[in-house]
């Protein structure tokens, strides 16, 4: 592959390489000082302001919209309603399937959920548009509403046979098992509640469209806009250099974007649409509510004989989202007999979507609570029972783990937490009015692989640039790509510039599924090595190079300087060398696509759909990240208030490219898990399917005071199968298992088993 294979470091922080160093985020200062320009802050001349008008019924039709009063309001430029033909075509979905039946109608007359957009009002100012929107007189024909998964009229839903997993004879083994624990677990609707709400600015120049919109996937979102408007893909540019949190909510283009861009085209004027905080709760669905009946059968010693899961999750009446409640269940423990089935129940909600560790999170809540119940039933320690049922290989795929350091996670977590001092009996530890409980649960997240593309430029001043369309949603893409390039190029980290978040730049997959770091470090490393090799080849061969006559057959690039390996020749900075040989730059673009995707169609599909994704068991191994959470809760014996007092979590995520950022991701996931366990629930009005706590005052997220001291421990080792540099996914695994760890701790504190999230004081007072 390379001309000159100079030795490269593949170490961790301890060996001083850029990869593995504990560096602060490159974008941190920009964000803290307000210098980072988010999508809606983009200065664009001549903006008009759009306001979305949501339906206030849960199901039915828009009978009529009287726009007269709104039209007469000052500053109003345009009103779009279901009466307007926006002339849009359907876009391709992530499976690379494009609907062929008729136009795409983002403002339909039929209402499938409360909060669905029914009109867009555009005016010269936001205030004018807001006021005009209130003057619309909307008449509805209301239909019957199915408000949620557990509502009486929701029914059982339809089976998802493709998700059924079975081995052995689980029902018979369960019936025969001497010890059985069976229970039903519930998780509610939860929301991303990202700091930066949805919204966009759309600007047309002729038949070219630029969209500034927060994005986890610029290429795919740009493709949607292009297809809606019947444009060649290169005519749409989607720009998203900074994102104020995505958590899964910003991977796709949505109806509101289509409506706003259509308005901009009609007006011949750029349009800004800020989706309001309340509207965010219906702009993109949160985590679907789930219900799981879970039964474990075991020996008297707590050795699992059977697991039977019957689950259900909600979706909308107009789209399919499967919150896979069996995602973690078959992976966690060795069990000879297993059966999992899931049903999907359509209700009147916006179609739910991916929220940090979709499927795995509710799945872990049930299995990790149930195993704790089993431990109690057989009188075993919760840690011990996990070791007794340790899965030495993937029980479902029957493949060896690539790496699974769960034993180490349990051991090191327990040690740091002081688990050995735990008293077995519930309600046996207290501090005044505070009942103290210690709980444990584990989590997992699959290694997902895909392909990426990057461009690396070495510039005449000796600095370098890394350019790709991948996004940084706060997880650290800027930083780790600079680290990767620095190490491969031998140019200091501080001298690497990274450009991201633009669909006009080289291709990348979605910043989702905890895979972007693994994919893009691989692509950047490949491009950077190629650029370095090109530079060295020029240094050795160019007639004007000072190395031309040194007789060296290889050169070393380190700290921005080039020298001969024996250190006997000249030492020249990169910039100087480029000057001598008369080059302004060296520019190399590389991708990691396999041969069969090296076609225009293949590339386009790889950057804009999920069809090139490889799952955790696609090769010879089963590959996952793992974690173990140890929690201390304090429950007020009279009030039932629950506070998490401290947490220790140990993680196996393979090699860490930047431990500081990895720890921050883990902690962020854990904090989100605390919200899931104790606070978060979309409250739905059963009469009209409306989420009525749709703001950050009433949809409760953890505040600083709710977040305890969290200690995270890295027990991973490089996993050569998982990614080019040995890392597994970091971003999502942290939330998985937090809720059951807290629920188990609440049980230990109070003797009350709560199987419905969030666990609030009502259940304990």
């Amino acid at each position: 592959m390379t001309l000159l294979d100079t030795p490269r470091k593949h170490g961790d922080a301890s060996d001083g390489g850029a990869i593995g160093a504990r560096l602060s985020r490159l974008d941190g200062k920009l964000k803290i000082t307000g210098a980072a320009t988010y999508a809606l802050e983009q200065p664009v001349d001549g903006l008009a302001y759009a306001v979305l008008v949501p339906a206030t019924i849960g199901a039915g039709r828009v009978a009529r919209i009287d726009v007269a009063a709104a039209k007469a309001a000052p500053g109003v430029r345009l009103i779009l309603t279901p009466d307007d033909d926006l002339g849009l075509q359907p876009a391709t979905d992530w499976n690379n399937v494009r609907a062929s039946d008729g136009p795409y109608v983002p403002l339909p007359r039929d209402i499938a959920y409360n909060g669905q957009p029914v009109a867009l009002v555009v005016a010269d100012s936001l205030e004018q548009a807001t006021e005009a929107a209130r003057r619309l007189a909307i008449a509805y024909e209301e239909g019957p509403v199915t408000p949620g998964l557990d509502s009486p009229n929701a029914g059982e839903g339809s089976p998802l046979d493709q998700l059924s997993v079975a081995w052995g004879d689980a029902e018979a083994a369960l019936a025969a098992a001497p010890v059985r624990v069976e229970a039903e677990y519930h998780t509610p609707r939860e929301y991303h509640a990202a700091m930066e709400p949805h919204g966009l600015i759309a600007r047309w120049e002729g038949d070219r469209l630029t969209v500034w919109e927060p994005s986890q996937w610029t290429h795919s979102m740009a493709r949607s806009y292009a297809e809606w408007f019947g444009l060649p893909p290169e005519n749409v540019r989607l720009v998203s250099p900074f994102v104020g949190g995505g958590f899964g909510s910003k991977g796709f283009s949505y109806g509101f974007g289509a409506i706003a861009a259509a308005a901009a085209r009609r007006l011949g004027r750029p349009v800004k649409l800020a989706v309001t905080r309340p509207q965010n709760f219906a702009a993109y669905g949160g985590r679907a509510a789930t219900r799981q009946s879970l039964a474990l059968g075991a020996t008297e010693d707590g050795v699992l004989q059977a697991i039977v899961l019957r689950g259900a999750s909600e979706t909308s009446t107009v789209g399919t989202w499967v919150e896979q409640v069996g995602a973690a269940t078959p992976l966690m423990y060795a069990v000879p007999n297993f059966s999992a089935r899931q049903r999907l129940v359509a209700v009147n909600t916006v179609t739910p979507g991916a929220l940090r560790a979709p499927g795995k999170t509710p799945s872990a809540f049930a299995i990790e609570s149930a195993i704790d119940e089993l431990a109690c039933a057989v009188g075993a320690d919760p840690l011990e029972i996990r070791l007794r049922n340790y899965a030495e290989e993937d029980p479902q795929a029957r493949k060896p783990w690539s790496t699974r350091r769960m034993r180490e996670a349990l051991a090191e977590g327990a040690e740091a937490f002081g688990w050995a001092r735990r008293s077995r009996e519930p309600r046996s530890m207290r501090d005044g009015h505070q009942l103290i409980g210690w709980g444990l649960a584990t989590g997992t997240f699959p290694v997902i692989r895909n392909y990426g593309e990057a461009l690396v430029r070495i510039l005449a001043d000796g600095s370098a640039e890394v350019v790709t369309g991948a996004t940084d949603i706060g997880q650290g893409t800027y930083t780790i790509l600079a680290q990767t390039a620095a190490e491969a190029l031998g140019i200091p980290f501080e001298r690497i510039d990274v450009r991201l978040g633009d669909s006009a730049l080289p291709g990348a997959p979605v910043a989702g599924g905890s895979k972007l770091a693994g994919v893009m470090t691989g692509a950047v490393q490949k491009a950077a090595i190629a650029a370095r090799d090109e530079l060295i080849a020029l240094a050795l061969n160019d007639p004007n190079s000072p190395f031309r006559d040194t007789g060296a057959n290889t050169l070393i690039l380190a700290d921005g300087r080039i020298s001969a390996p024996r250190g006997d020749g000249p030492v020249v900075s990169v910039g100087e060398l480029l000057g001598r040989i008369g080059r302004e730059r060296i520019e190399v673009r590389r991708d990691t696509l396999p041969d069969h995707l090296q076609t225009p169609e293949g590339r386009f599909r790889a950057w804009t759909t999920m069809t090139t994704v490889q799952g955790p068991t696609a090769g010879d191994y089963s590959m996952h990240s793992w974690c173990a959470h140890f929690v201390e809760v304090r429950v007020d014996e009279d009030f039932g208030t629950i506070r998490v007092a401290r947490m220790v979590s140990a993680f196996d995520c393979g090699r860490l490219y930047n431990p500081k950022l990895a720890e921050s991701q883990w902690k962020g996931g854990i904090i989100m898990g605390i919200g899931m366990a104790l606070l978060e629930e979309g409250l739905v009005d059963s009469r009209n399917g409306r989420v009525i706590n749709n703001n950050l005052g009433d949809y409760l997220l953890p505040t600083n005071a709710d977040v305890p001291d969290i200690r995270v421990i890295d027990v991973g080792i490089p996993d050569p199968h998982a990614s080019a540099l040995g890392g597994k996914g970091v971003g999502e695994v942290g939330i998985v298992g937090v809720a059951p760890a807290i629920a188990n701790a609440v049980f230990h504190a109070t003797g009350r088993r709560v199987r419905r999230l969030p666990i609030t004081l009502d259940a304990l007072v």
Binding site: T56, P74, E127, T130, E131, R134, P278, H433, D638, F639, G640, T641, R643, L678, L679, L683, V684, D685, S686, R687, R690, I692, N693, N695, G697, D698, L700, P702, T703, N704, A705, D706, T760, L761, D762, V765
Partner: protein, 325 residues
Amino acid sequence: MNPFRYRTAADPDAAIGAALGGATFIAGGTDLIQLMQEGIAAPDLLMDINGIGYSGVASDLDGIRIGALTRLAEVADDPTVRARFPLVREAIESTASGQVRNMATVGGNLLQKTRCLYFRDRAAPCNKRAPGTGCSAFEGQNRINAVLGASAHCIATHPSDLAVALVAADAEVILRGPAGERTVLLESFYRLPEDRPDIETVLEPGELIVGVWLPIAAAARRSRYVKVRDRASFEWALASCAAAIATDGGEVLEARLAVGGVATKPWRLARSEAALVGRPFGPGAIREAAALAAEGAEPRGRNAYKVPLLVATVERTLMELRGAG
């Protein structure tokens, strides 16, 4: 937001005059602006009263006068308030966040609107916001709603923490209107919802709150405010209790109790107080007083937990005061 005019009042009379003409006062704006953003309040004329004076805390031998435009943070930091009225300081320090307390005023706090989810959702029927449309909470998501003082027309709680502490402290509000100043006991300032939940106080058209009078009382020195909520900070009360006790030789001389988060107005517990006075300040009397707090409580569904929670909160508050004696 509706188009509106914004003016600043140079003195109280200008403000009062404007209000008689339909203007809405704005102080810290921490509640009003939210209501305007959601289209729940739509004033034509906003009259900024921050410049009319009435800001600051002044104390003399009889009591403390707090100007209506004093920021909550300033009240909580006042040395006399801290020494003489711990319950007021604790109520404020458990209110909102530091940022909000730097902005929010005492007058605005007493007049903030309920957190009932339906009141704040313009699409929902709500008798308090739109009289005669019905009460969505009655059979809806009413986990945070009231179990005391409700009517068939409204079950919304009064959200203020400070008001609960002030009611327990026998505070008076000083009002100023076209006819001059008058003083009303804060407890009587608030109305029960009955069949007009939209009329929340006895304020007359044009009237301003200009201050709060806190009479010095022995009991208030030994006082507490205990607030129970889902998350550890930045949330209104699910249940709270303000209590002040004076004892002599272990016997209760004076007891003042009020609860919040559970009632349609800051709720004084006269019967619980009576159960304490003249008796030894011990677990028996405390438990009895706490049980009496829930007398007449009527849960409406998801808020049933508030009945035992209310009792537990009163009991804990009193037990802590006993310990602090």
